[in-house]
């Protein structure tokens, strides 16, 4: 498996399971979607760390670093994306972590998508996305 670093150099990456952390940030308790995606990704051979609901930005970032995950997957349906995502990407930058990518799934108004992408979100999965597509996109994030 290959991975391209920030400078555009292609690096050999040891072939191993993709490790992804899934969390529901904030106080929203709608977790059925996140749990389904967690199971789908684990069925697809990825190593899934499911943090569950009531997660803070700090808690998510610390767990992601501690577990050395490749990707943080955030499930957000509450409208809190506009505050929580910048905080998570800010914390990662502060801690000098550049190899953990962020993806978001949930209810995200179209107008907010660009802002989230500016804050470093690599992919936003909206309602109706097939689980096959989610698996493929996450795999390809690891290659590009």
């Amino acid at each position: 498996m290959f991975r391209v670093d920030k400078k555009g150099e292609t690096l050999m990456v040891q072939k191993r399971r993709i490790k992804i952390l899934i969390a529901n940030p904030g106080l929203d308790v709608h977790d059925a979607g996140a749990r389904y995606v967690a199971k789908v990704l684990s069925d697809a051979g990825m190593e899934v760390i499911y943090l569950g609901i009531r997660q803070t930005a700090e808690g998510i970032v610390n767990a992601a670093i501690q577990e050395a995950v490749d990707i943080i997957g955030l499930s957000i349906l509450s409208g809190r994306h506009s505050t929580i995502v910048p905080r998570i990407s800010g914390l990662l930058r502060e801690k000098n972590v550049h190899d953990i990518q962020i993806v978001v799934g949930g209810i995200i108004p179209k107008d907010d998508i660009d802002t989230l992408k500016k804050h470093g979100v690599k992919e936003i999965f909206l309602p109706g996305t097939s689980s096959e597509f989610v698996v493929d996109r996450i795999k390809s994030l690891m290659i590009n």
Binding site: D31, K39, L51, G52, R80, I84, P109, S131
Partner: protein, 565 residues
């Protein structure tokens, strides 16, 4: 036709069908046709009886909707208390709250309120007023209820955790006292269903035993002081909306109802004192016949349980008073206008099932909290069904249908199997009564959560494979979505709310509030009922967050386990 011949014939017919199997959401196989032999053991009096008579399969009252219109409530809450209050008034004028002698309000609270956090708590940042109204203080409660005379308003407070339910009920009681309304005359409910909250809603603040104690404190206090209050609403809606099927919805909810009854009996409440105060808040979903059959089976089972297991003598203790919420999860973000049709079918199922009330979801529920327009259409949905179509003009119109009666029996049989399983899990546990022990075991060993998660996983697999059709999602997708107007809650709400809380704290007698909080801590550590001291605390201007925090010191905090399937 001989049996062999018939089987061959059925197989031949099935080969021509558009699907190779027909099943309900709970996995019950559906036959091509139902005949008298599908109801072999059926007896009118034993299985159905007249509406208003045990086992109440056909309904709780002789006249049903011919006399009492279906109670209609639209849940509401967003932003600041005055914003939610204005929406209450608007919905009331639109006839969105009907069937009550006076006004009715159904309040939904925001995430921070449901977790017992004040608006200035760092964890609340970004969520103030977003998914419900934000309440911190008795002053907020006063603004929220402004213009609604408390003794003439049915106030349905949708609060999951018992700690938060106790504090907000205390604010409501304190407000009534301030307005010189006798608390005896208050009517309403406060949900207060901790067992469900551990499994589905997942906003539990305290561990299992203190949560149950607070739940029963509310029940005991209201039974003695606010006799028309419904202190516990068994919240099957969350079991369904978090992914369970129709059978799991009623089976787990019945297990909870039995556990609360056993706790009430252990507190020396009489079953005929406690039983009549239990209410049920459930779901209506896509499959019309299964939903209607579910409520018929549910009433019959509950009546049997209360009469035979707990020896309830009063009819009212055996009557399952159930309020239905039309599904939000069954609504889609894609082609959202289609949801108006779905909610109409759901509302019809509630009527055919004989529910006492319905809360119709707004068509934009999958996308945001409702706009005025979406909430108005929700109000119109039940008005059109009840007043234009004639479906509510006879009692239990599906009664006697070979299919529906067979389905009612099958749902009941499967639900009893679950109840046996849960009861067995409690064997040898330390909590005493069997169902209570079984339910606590099922929460702690993840049984309920896993059963629901597995059902949900299979459902979505079926949707992804196309086996289960969701119009606009996996079939008949639109190239381009028609844009709809969405409700957005301004971040200004948060700023105003925090500033208001700061002023509230500055203006109060701090010493008085601190003493009241100490008193709460003391009673929490004892066996006394916590309600009186909570009423004093909110009168002394202690805030929700402050009260919950002192209770945390005594009770500890619930640390749930996060698992997926």
């Amino acid at each position: 036709m001989s049996r062999d011949k018939e089987e061959g014939y059925e197989k031949e017919l099935l080969r021509k069908c558009r699907k190779d199997e027909f099943k309900t959401s709970s996995g019950i196989s559906i036959k091509r046709i139902y005949r008298p032999e599908d109801l072999k053991e059926f007896g009118y009096e034993k299985d159905l009886n007249e509406p208003g008579q045990y086992p109440f399969t056909r309904g709780l009252y002789p006249n049903m909707y011919r006399e009492l219109l279906l109670h209609r409530r639209l849940g509401m809450g967003y932003g600041l208390p005055e914003q939610a209050n204005a929406r209450f008034k608007y919905l009331y004028e639109q006839g969105g709250q009907a069937g009550y002698s006076g006004a009715a309000t159904t309040t939904l609270y925001d995430g921070p309120t449901n977790f017992g956090l004040d608006s200035d708590d760092p964890l609340a940042d970004g969520e103030i007023g977003k998914m419900g109204v934000a309440i911190d203080t008795i002053d907020d409660m006063e603004v929220l209820m402004g213009g609604f005379p408390l003794d003439k308003t049915f106030n349905n407070m949708v609060l999951y955790d018992s700690g938060v339910a106790a504090v907000l009920l205390a604010m409501y009681i304190a407000l009534a006292e301030k307005q010189n309304t006798p608390i005896h005359d208050l009517t309403g409910s406060c949900l207060n269903e901790p067992l469900q909250t551990f499994v589905c809603q997942k906003c539990s603040i305290f561990p299992v035993m203190p949560s149950l104690r607070l739940c029963l404190d509310i029940a005991e206090f209201t039974i003695k002081n606010i006799p028309k209050w419904n202190p516990i609403s068994i919240y099957g809606n969350a079991i369904r909306e978090s992914g369970g099927n129709a059978v799991q919805e009623i089976a787990f909810a019945l297990a909870h109802a039995m556990a609360y009854t056993e706790m009430a009996l252990a507190r020396d409440l009489e079953v005929d004192e406690f039983g009549p105060r239990l209410t049920f808040y459930h779901n209506v979903n896509n499959e019309l016949f299964e939903e209607a059959a579910k409520y018929r089976a549910y009433r019959r089972m509950y009546a049997k349980i209360m009469k035979e297991k707990y020896n309830a003598k009063k009819r009212h203790s055996q009557m399952l008073r159930v309020f239905a919420k039309t599904s939000g999860v069954a609504l889609t973000a894609q082609q959202p206008y289609n949801n108006i049709i779905r909610s109409t079918i759901h509302t019809l199922a509630a009527l055919l099932g004989g529910c006492q009330g319905v809360f119709v979801a707004s068509f934009d529920e999958a996308l945001s909290i409702p706009t005025d327009m979406a909430a108005t259409i929700a109000a119109r949905t039940s008005q059109i069904l009840i007043e234009e179509t004639g479906v509510a003009d006879t009692v239990d119109p599906l009664g006697g249908s070979y299919y529906v009666e067979n389905l009612t029996d099958e749902i009941e049989r499967r639900a009893w199997d679950y109840l046996d399983k849960v009861e067995k899990m409690g064997e040898g546990m330390k909590f005493g009564p069997k169902m209570l022990s079984g339910v606590i075991a099922g929460i702690e060993n993840g049984f309920f959560e896993n059963e629901i998660a597995l059902t949900n996983y299979r459902k979505w697999k079926d949707i992804e494979s196309g086996k289960r059709v969701i119009v606009g999602v996996n079939k008949y997708q639109a190239e381009e979505e028609i844009p709809i107007e969405l409700m957005k809650v301004d971040m200004e709400v948060q700023r105003v709310k925090i500033e208001r809380l700061r002023n509230f704290k500055q203006d109060r007698n701090l010493k008085g509030a601190e003493e009241a909080l100490k008193a709460v801590e003391k009673v929490a550590a004892s066996n006394e009922n916590i309600m009186p001291v909570l009423v004093e605390a909110v009168k002394s201007k202690a805030t929700l967050g402050e009260i919950i925090n002192v209770m945390k010191k005594v009770f500890g905090e619930y640390k749930g386990v996060s698992c997926f399937v």
